[in-house]
Symmetry: C2
Subunit: 238 residues, 2 copies
DNA sequence: GTATCTCAAGAGCGGTGCTCACTAATACTT
DNA sequence: AAGTATTAGTGAGCACCGCTCTTGAGATAC
């Protein structure tokens, strides 16, 4: 194989990748509950037990799917954010929110897989932590850039009191300890963002929020204010 | 039966209530995926098809379970909030948040049932909307009482711009249209609260927020400020 | 040409939701 | 008291699920 030893037996007709792709298709079309090994095997023209040569259990397949899904969301949002002038932290944050929401709206089942109820008996392995942090770390970078260009957070004693606990997280993102209050607020914004998206996608806004597009823009404004983000024009004016 | 007509056939050994209770037990112990009609029937000493005399499908049972679960959360939070002096809107809100979180922590599977991924193919019937609104309407009442006792929201043009869309919701809660901005902020707080709880329960805070108790208190302070809530002492001083 | 290794096939276990013909049990009618 | 209508639980069965294990097909190494 890749390590110099030559593969000996029968040629595989399916691979880990092909199984994963088939699972991703099933997920996109019908939700996590319809990801059955038997249906995947059927779609690959193979018998169900053949899957077990490549995945030892359905959970292992789901884990790969979760990692892949986090990566997909991360790529989508990273690409969208890269198209905004880096000095416009306010717009960068807005684009992070809008593109996350757009991805979720286009991939509701994939969103539910990573931000809905965890699959029973499933514990997130270390391999998930990094890709899962993409949106959060994009927010962290916006916070850092805003601070570097002179942005300041609105006064909030409670936030500053909570800040010391976020020094390690700030350091994990490569930020100065002085940014811990901003990181604390960033975590609040981060969980609020996904709370908002989950409420929208899971139907909790029915009869409560009609125009979710407009409401999202309000939330962006609200969260930007709390993070001390502003447009370059605003700063030069104020 | 209750309507004058007399029941004719064989006496039922199970009832809708007994089935629902058995399902609630299964849910509390092992999560929604383990709520199987066969297991419930087994625990009731009856054959699985007997359930269908009382519930036409598993989905119908889950719907009842969701309604019951919303009611349970609503009662828990309502009772907790009732023990706080009604003039202390800040503390009332804090107790709403803390008791919601406490209920969620004690009933993780029940929480996941109502705030996690919706069960596939499931559409919330009208019967769910009212009980699902309990926490939201408690927040609305706090907002109204805070406004009635002279509390004001911090200035926020974006929120006021979004407010007109929330006039109908304010009216649905029996509030004046002038409170629409507060309602808009209330909805944001409401979804943020459940975003926070979902992140905690679904494991997204692992490696990010260590002391969730303390972090929740920060969020309470942050959200209270945005809602213009204050303690009576603070108002008389300021 | 045989031994060895690899992979898929296929049967099978126990689980699921759900349907349907059947029967036991009850109450009203004759 | 006998018969009938009505109701509820039984049990067999269908199609699906995850998973295991034995078997045989295919490819390389010796």
């Amino acid at each position: 194989m890749t390590d110099g030893s030559v593969r000996r037996g029968r040629k595989p007709v399916i691979s880990r990748e092909r199984v994963l792709d088939a699972a991703a298709d099933a997920l996109a079309n019908a939700g996590a509950d319809s990801i059955s090994l038997r249906a995947i095997a059927r779609s690959l023209g193979v018998v169900s037990s053949a899957i077990y040569r490549h995945y030892s259990s359905r959970d292992e397949l789901l884990t790969d799917l979760i990692v892949q899904t986090h990566a997909s969301l991360g790529e989508h949002v990273t690409r969208a954010e890269a198209s905004v002038a880096s000095s416009d932290t306010r717009e960068r944050f807005a684009v992070i929110v809008r593109s996350t929401r757009a991805w979720a709206g286009q991939n509701p089942h994939r969103y539910a897989l990573i931000y809905g109820t965890p699959v029973p008996g499933y514990r997130a392995p270390q391999s998930i932590l990094e890709p899962a942090a993409v949106v959060g770390s994009l927010i962290a970078r916006v916070i850092a850039d805003a601070a570097a260009s002179g942005g300041t957070l609105p006064a909030d004693p409670a936030r500053d009191a909570a800040a010391p606990a976020f020094v390690p997280l700030a350091e994990a993102f490569g930020l100065e300890p002085e940014l811990a209050p901003a990181v604390a607020e960033g975590v609040a914004v981060w969980s609020q963002l996904f709370g908002h998206l989950s409420f929208e996608l899971f139907g909790h806004y029915v009869g409560v929020v009609d125009d979710v597009d407009a409401y999202t823009e309000f939330l962006i404004a609200d969260m930007s204010r709390r993070l001390g983000l502003s447009r370059p024009a605003e700063r030069s004016q104020g």
